[in-house]
Amino acid sequence: MSITTEATSLLPGYRVLDLSSSMGAFCGKLLRDLGMDVIKVEPPGGDSGRNEPPFAKGHFHREGSLRFAYLNAGKRSITLDITKEAGRKLLLELVARSDIVLETFEPGYLGKHNLGYETLVEKNNKLILVSLTGFGQDGPYANYKAPDIVGNAMGALLYISGDPTMTPCNPPETQSYYYASLFAAYGAMLSLWQRETRGIGAWIDASVQASMALHEHVAFNYSAEGRVMKRAGSQHQHNAPANLFQCKNGWIALFVTQNHWPILLKVWDGHDPALDDPKWINSNLRRANADYINAQVTSFTSRFMKEDLAELMQKNGIPGLPVNSPSDFMRDPHIQARGFFSAVTHPVLGSFLQPGNCFMVDGKRTGPSPAPLVGQHNREIFHSELGLEKSEMESLVANGII
């Protein structure tokens, strides 16, 4: 196994203009991880995502957002006011030299600035426009605002998340944005395939709500079985023991199926002989008596350290894993051996560990790159590539265009 910082690019040579805010930033990152040249087009002053917590300590400024640093790793950055005519023209020049435009403006915003799909296609007839919004480009909720928590709420993941006695609990970070970005990236891939095989462009209308609403069989369960899924804490809906169990130094996640149950009893010294009754092999019965089963299992798990118990379980073929804190995860020997994290040097924040690509190509992983500073690549792109003279650039800066 080897980790390479040399890009094992699947898709070099493609260019993406990433006009998205934090809603679509992870889509742009995935396209970058696939090897594309991703140019983040920020308004002068910087993308709003640069204001989003968490921040690096002592860096409460536009280069200090760690969310931004992660979601925009490896992209290039230019600044451009696309609402002004000179900025609009420059954007269209870049559109002509790009394959994909990614955007998360409210529906109609680009059209209002004379940059709608038809206008973009005039510049580039095979263009792929990937639009990601809370609810889609049209329909009764199209203009509704959708911060992350609204995406999780309208997609029904929030309702089933958390302890049944408490308020529904939003997942950490901004999961509805991450998740919708995955779908947007899949839409981009399909569009690219269509373009390469049939020579046509496409407009992807991705929705955060629609991406979330297929989670956990919630809609399907209701439609097929008339069952409304509810919050159930950590208890899996079909199985027991399938929950988190207390250990000496934390918790373990156990998932014990019909096949695993007899093995668990074998490993479990001193279990109540009542559990040897063959009726308990039936998962449905164990699930129906989950409170009893879970209490019994806790008497066993609480004798162990979580890591030791996980190892014992896995040795016996039972899929147990410890409940890690983020730093436990980063320290785990398996994750370290795989080189998931490696060091980057950010021009302002210094050196630190950052996740590389989450996939490997022919056994090689592309390591992480730092996020760009605001407008870091203005000169490279406007001058070297589009051929703007120094004086032209200065006048654009003076007029607040770049």
Binding site: E52, P54, L66, A69, L71, G139, Y141, K145, A153, M154, A156, L158, Y159, I160, D163, P168, C169, N170, P172, Y179, L182, F183, G187, L190, W193, A202, I204, A210, S211, A213, L214, H215, E216, V218, A219, A224, V228, A232, G233, S234, Q235, H236, H238, A253, L254, P319, P322, V323, P326, F329, M330, D332, R338, F340, L349, L353, Q354, C358, F359, G363
Partner: protein, 404 residues
């Protein structure tokens, strides 16, 4: 108008998958027209989801149907030498292999990457093993549920006042894998189309999961912090949270970030005096006094329906919504507007509706979503028309338990 089912037309994918992530990845490829052939065997190689539910018919488990829509089915005994030979021949006529078995299961059957690629140098292989192909714990058994725990997501997915971790009853990592998987398949196909050589892409589901916790890991590595659960609190908006509404277990969410949103929200609540309240005059202060603010908001929401709160707030430009249930999804006017649900009048599991996809292709019609083909029902067609075997040979293999 062209049809989304034509996009991957002509792409053939062999699917060695079981459970949720792998099969659903196949479904998402089939939804856009790929010919996805799922290979299973009664000789110890059935998809585990075929046994979920009360039904004895292995084609009638609701979970299986959900995850395998549009997928063709072959029964081939991979422990029989003719079975593995047929797979290699099929690999020669296919574009990609998708698999989520534990590492080296296929290698041990003589169907490792090299063997498959000998039959087809352009073959793309995408693997979704839980802990990856390499590394000290690569043989570990994993499920979406315990991968969530291992990544740190379970630890953080909780209210700060809760005295034990909760996380989720679900399998979030599977959802991540089944969208990343097909994305990587198409990316690798584009790559092999250009280079004339197939690649192997290995997506460890644990790393796919960790990819959606990146900002948190940076808090650890840059700041040396050990981030703790925040529940519904978010450091860039206040009020921001989930509030009880009228009705049993009915909730709404509200998220107010900008000054405009704050003014509009106070207007909607009919509490314009709050605008002059010194505790709340900017976001920093609203974050500081968020407990008091939440109490005021909760007081207002509990006498109203979640639906009226969503409508009133959103009309005023304030982000808010119903916390929808499964029943709400099926009657959601926005999802209906997008023709989001594929509808099946008749199936082995009765009538049902099911979500299609997170995105639409503008200006194209949605391709059909089909039921999974019955176990083994594509054997004759595929062996006959794709590999060119005659009926007598196929019948003989049936008797010799190659095709079972």
């Amino acid at each position: 108008m062209s049809n989304t089912h034509e996009i991957l037309k002509g792409v053939r994918i062999l699917s060695f998958t079981t459970g949720y992530a792998g099969p659903y990845a196949g479904r998402l490829l089939a939804s856009y027209g790929a010919e996805v052939i799922k290979i299973e065997s009664r000789k110890g190689g059935l998809d585990t989801f075929r046994h979920y539910g009360q039904h004895k018919d292995i084609d009638a488990a609701p979970r299986f149907v959900e995850c395998n829509l549009g997928v063709r089915s072959m029964a081939i005994n991979l422990k029989h030498p003719i079975g593995t030979r047929l797979i290699k021949e099929l690999a020669g006529k296919s574009d990609a292999v998708l698999q989520n078995f534990r590492p080296r299961v296929l290698d041990k059957l003589g169907l490792g990457d090299d063997e498959l690629r000998r039959a087809n140098p352009k073959l793309v292989i995408v693997k979704l093993p839980g802990f990856g192909t390499e590394g000290p714990k690569s043989s570990y058994g994993t499920w979406g549920f315990n991968l969530t725990a291992f990544s740190g997501i379970t630890y953080l997915w909780n209210h700060p006042e809760q005295d034990r971790p909760i996380g989720s009853q679900g399998v979030y990592p599977d959802h991540l894998g089944f969208v990343m998987g097909p994305t990587l398949v198409v990316a690798a196909l584009l790559n092999s189309r250009r280079t004339g050589r197939g690649v192997t892409v290995d997506l460890a589901q644990i790393e796919g999961t960790a990819a959606v916790l990146g900002a948190t890991y940076l808090e650890t590595s840059v700041n040396g912090d050990d981030p703790q659960p925040k529940g519904n609190h978010y450091g860039w908006a206040a009020p921001h949270g989930c509030y009880r509404c009228q009705g049993e277990d009915r909730w709404c969410v509200i998220s107010v970030r900008t000054e405009d949103e704050w003014q509009n929200f106070c207007n909607v609540m009919g509490c314009t005096t709050l605008l002059n309240d010194e505790r709340f005059i900017n976001l920093q202060l609203r974050l500081k006094y968020r407990a008091q603010l939440d109490a005021i908001v909760q007081d207002w929401t509990q006498g109203r329906t979640a639906e009226e709160i969503m409508t009133q707030c959103q009309r005023a430009g304030v982000p808010a919504s119903v916390v929808q249930t499964g029943a709400d999804l099926l009657r959601d006017v926005q999802l209906r507007h997008r023709n989001y649900f594929a509808s099946f009048e008749d199936s082995l599991i009765g009538p049902f509706e099911i979500p299609r996809s997170g995105f639409l292709f503008k200006g194209m019609t949605e391709g059909p979503l089909n039921l999974p083909n019955r176990f083994g029902s594509d054997n004759s067609q595929i062996l006959g028309e794709i590999l060119g075997y005659d009926k007598a040979t196929i019948a003989q293999w049936q008797d010799e338990e190659v095709l079972t």
